[in-house]
């Protein structure tokens, strides 16, 4: 039952090199390479179609046609993912309205991964996971429709934590939430990252969110990483590529002069 990943040496985080992905004849990722040290956080930023979510899907084994080398904790991933892989790597999706089973109680949603992996003390784990995301026990036997968007996203995060993973993949985890709820969820994620030493790969279109959450940011366009920079440099506007500069200026609000200077990167 223990996959290759479990036997690997912890300490090396995520390493992606020369990742190409095709959807049929169409190549959507071109030689994507980056690495995230253990306990570190990298953000992937880009507009729709830039391939940022595809990187996460490739890591998770949700993409069929790919080439390149993907390593988690030093172990190379093959064409399929072992059960052990999911003990190490967990993902939180964008829309908490779509990612929770509507007819399962929160308790069942959280217990399922533990049961699939044959873990003991399931009930205890459920209670712990709920505590970790700031929900009290009264939520255990509710259904998703009885929860707000922020509470559902907390449940989705709790589910990811059930298997005590070392790596967390976050796909736009707050873009469906109101800004006040976004702040709470980001604080929660940042606290978990720090307390549990999670290695994090976060996809977002929001430069401010990514630079808040991550140590470094990779800017993607049309299936390529244009540059990878430290979050401090992004915050200070120290970017090299003209596309990154345009993205940065676009996120500072409506300004006619700026808009008229936009170039198409198609």
């Amino acid at each position: 039952m223990s996959g290759a990943v479990l036997q690997a040496v912890p300490g090396t985080g995520i390493d992606v090199s020369g990742l190409n992905v095709w959807f049929g004849d169409h190549q959507v990722l071109h030689g994507v390479s980056f690495s995230v040290p253990e306990g570190g956080a990298l953000g992937l930023v880009g507009e729709s179609g830039s391939g940022k979510s595809t990187v996460l899907r490739a890591l998770c084994g949700l993409v069929d046609q790919w080439s390149g080398a993907l390593r988690i904790d030093g172990a190379e991933l093959g064409k399929t993912r072992s059960r052990g892989f999911y003990r190490v790597v967990q993902m939180v999706f964008q829309d908490p309205f779509a990612s929770l089973h509507p007819r399962h109680t929160i308790d069942r949603t959280l217990s399922e991964p533990a049961q699939v992996h044959g873990l003991d003390r399931v009930e205890e784990r459920v209670v712990t996971a709920l505590e970790q995301v700031g929900l009290d026990r009264s939520f255990r036997f509710r259904f998703p429709h009885q929860l707000s968007g922020g509470q559902r996203q907390r449940v989705a995060i709790a589910r990811a934590l059930m298997l005590e993973p070392r790596v967390l993949l976050l796909d736009e985890p707050t873009s469906a939430l109101d800004v006040s709820i976004q702040a709470e969820v980001l604080n929660l994620l940042k606290g978990l990252q720090r307390d549990l030493g999670l290695t994090t790969l976060m996809v977002s279109h929001d430069l401010a969110v990514v630079s808040h959450m991550c140590d470094a940011v990779a800017i993607m366009n049309r299936g390529r990483i244009l540059e990878t920079i430290a979050a401090e440099d992004l915050a200070a506007g120290r970017v090299d590529h003209p596309y990154s500069r345009q993205l940065l200026r676009a996120s500072s609000g409506f300004d006619r002069a700026v808009i008229d200077s936009f170039v198409d990167w198609e």
């Binding site: 729709s48 800004v179 996120s251 700026v258 808009i259 936009f262």
Partner: protein
Amino acid sequence: MTDLTSAAPLLEVEDLRVHFHTPRGAVEAVRGLSFTLGRERLGIVGESGSGKSQTGRAILGLTAGNGRITAKTLRFQGQDLLSLSPKQWRAVRGARMSMIMQDPKYSLNPVMTVGDQIVEAYRQHHRVSAAEARLRALAMLARVKIRDPERVFATYPHEVSGGMGQRIMIAMMLIPEPDLIIADEPTSALDVTVRLQVLAILDDLVRERGMALIFISHDLPLVSSFCDRILVMYKGRVVEDLKASELHAARHPYTQGLLGCLPKLDQRQETLPVLRRDPRWEHGTLEEVTR
């Protein structure tokens, strides 16, 4: 055409209320909203459930069937909207006030070409020949900066990108030359650069034609950079009414809280401030909650 110099406001809203009858009892989505609108760009900002979209829908007479609208005044260009028959409503809607919705994927007809939809919108309110309507539609597509109007005219909505779809929506809503446009999250589904380009087009058209715009959004910084005035809504009420340029001097703790909880690129902080909701915000006046 309306007289641009007349002092009377375009839209007068006083004590607007929208109730919904649900199996769990009545819900009041908008609670006593009042404002007047001239030929300006007004932003209505709030979080989900604040009643911002229901306000837009009530003004257009698009409230769902289980909803009931009451108001002391709801007047558009001097005409009492609440007394209109459904038929009279249809003559106002589209021709004199119009709405741009969030996602072109759901608001364009998937089985009709883009061009036919724009032509239909125009001929609904103007008695012109098909040939002339087509020319108008092509000109309108060019106005929203679509490079090859002839080609786009013949496409179906699934063949165009999100940004182009939203420009098509704008073309369709603006071609009857309404005096008031209500845009409900018109660019939330778009990427940031495309979002700004679409807003720039909307901005040009609104200025050129002297239209009024109500821009409904959850994005406070964006609205403040785009509009002249902002209404901040919380649980169905306007809690603060301020000039967009004075957003930084907002006094209501809710407005301040909304601005505060956004992560900011230029100032790194370990923990984001979270909004502490005060029950007084639900009923209190600005003076009461800032005391």
